[in-house]
Amino acid sequence: MSAPAPPDLRIITSRFDIEDGHTLAGYERTGGYAGLRRALEMAPADVHSEVRNASLLGRGGAGFPAGVKWGFCPPGVWPRYLVVNGDESEPGTYKDRLLMERDPHQLIEGCLIACYALGLSQCFLYVRGEMAHAQERLAAALNEAYEAGFAGRNVLGAPDFSVDITLHWGAGAYIVGEETALIESLEGNRGMPRLKPPYFPASIGLYGKPTIVNNVETLANLPWIVSNGGEAFAAMGADNSTGTRVFAVSGHVASPGVFEVPFGTTTFRDIIFDSRYAGGMRPGRTLKTFIPGGASAPWFFEEHLDLPLEKTTVDQAGSMLGSGAIVVMDDTTDVVKACHNVVRFFARESCGKCTPCREGTSWLEKILSRLLAGQGRPQDLDLLMDVCDNISPGINWPPRQTTICPLGPSAVSPIASALERFRGEFEAYLPATAVTVTGVAS
């Protein structure tokens, strides 16, 4: 098994164990704001180059290279904005909240570096509404950063570099994590995703202007990258999955936890079973299935344990690393109930804009509910797959979609996974006397 990242190789969780790591004093004492100072000695384009050389993949879920996304701003169109996606809500995901609570200055420094590199003239830091403690820590850190001259007018005394960071907070809606919905919400609207194209808000975003939307963890890596160079970052991890990544391992494991590991070289077996990480299953239990990357991801099984936590490998194996959430289920798990739990989530959180998602997710939830209530019909299992096929034609991976955003197809993942592997468990919920109903809409 590969070794965990030694403490000095931890990039973004290095202050998690430091009592005052969230304060300006604690942050500066441990090397904070060195990356920003270094950036301001460079030309903005050179800072962008370092990030491109780092091959930093976005940490929000889609895994798109940040440096490439940054390059999509159309030349000559100003102003440009930075929107920080701190609306972490994907079930099982638990990393951005810790990064905001325990190391808020690192995120602020990352924001300032991004603004400097790309000419982004105002930053909006959108924090999930339910995260009161993170909002508090960020407000306190921003007040300190402004007071000390790191943020706001004339950053570090530079006469030509001024940027405001506006703390913003949501009010409870998973869909707002989708970047165009985030922008709608930030404009004061209902948080519904925008029609594509344009595919990237970098061309048309907040107030119709070029806007970079980056995840909290993505931005938190920037101070290290600028201080140590993009190549040093790219040297860590695997070829296409560089640096480190933070994974939350939860569910039926002995020691649930949040772990920063080299990206792309650690395997699922390592992170689930190694005593340095989640420490294996609960005593006497065996692995049944696990979700490798948040509720939207198709499920993995025993045979996937030796896959590395590497984007391309996991994509090709039919799932995704998504938001870094690994949810482990043991042999005591009722997969029909687990499947229903995840599907209910998507049904509840569908914004209602696209018919296949609005109708499809709620019908999937209703059918699973009646199955669990002992009122299933024999054709319900095929009906579930048929509804899935309507939401995501072909039920393939990566999913095709009939909707504006991926929320609808995400509800297909748990059903396709569980029904294929554990069909017998679904059938066991069918009442013994079930009568096949024909000729009526189900």
Binding site: W78, A171, G191
Partner: protein, 207 residues
């Protein structure tokens, strides 16, 4: 129960001033109204509409989309039990059933004494601490039935030291006038000054 009072209005104006387009302040202002009254009143929505220059219907449209914004009175304490997949695997359904039996309400309901509103909510990002809940958006981790009963007695006796419903962060962002860079409105702005820097010209006094 009403429009924003003088104190809230001062905070509201400071919030609005941080955005290039006033409407962007809508959600923070709705939270502010909820902090003042415990929920978002119609009068507050009308007042917010005036402040950001939209109609009350538009404010209602935004407000009604988001789960945290309550347009009817709720209990002093929102007890939100997480029912996400990780908590589900570790017994959240049992905890919710226990809460229903203890409080005598279903999720969404408020106890007769007006103290507690129970909700079963989607993942609140404390998955390694399952099963978890939030009281007025402050975490309680690895909650057992006994922990829950203890919590309820603390809430009923007002000894839980939890901020009132509506108040989120106890620290507000404040930007001093001398430190403010200024909002960046979407119209009529050129390339920011620092973009003219090149490697041989450091431009600023940073280092």
């Amino acid at each position: 129960m009403a429009r924003l009072n003088a104190n809230s209005l001062g905070v509201a104006q400071e919030i609005i001033a941080r955005y290039p387009v006033p409407r962007s302040a809508l959600i923070p202002l709705l939270h502010l109204a909820q902090e003042q009254d415990g929920y978002v009143t119609e009068d507050a929505m009308a007042h917010i509409a005036e402040l950001v220059g939209v109609t009350p219907a538009e404010v209602m449209g935004t407000c009604s989309f988001y789960e945290m914004l309550k347009r009817e009175p709720v209990g002093e304490y929102m007890v939100n039990i997480c029912n996400g997949i990780s908590c589900h695997l570790l017994g959240s359904s049992d905890l919710i059933h226990h809460a229903e039996a203890t409080l005598g309400v279903r999720p969404g309901g408020t106890t007769d004494d007006g103290k507690i509103t129970l909700e079963a909510v989607e993942c609140i990002a404390a998955c390694i601490e399952a099963p978890c809940l939030q009281v007025n958006y402050r975490y309680r981790n690895r909650v057992t039935a006994d922990d829950f009963d203890q919590l309820v007695s603390e809430l009923r006796g007002d000894t839980a030291k939890v901020a009132p419903h509506g108040q989120l962060a106890r620290v507000r962002q404040h930007i001093g006038d001398d430190r403010r860079a200024g909002v960046s409105p979407p119209g009529g702005q050129g390339e920011p000054a620092w973009m003219a820097r090149n490697p041989s010209d450091n431009g600023g006094s940073a280092s």
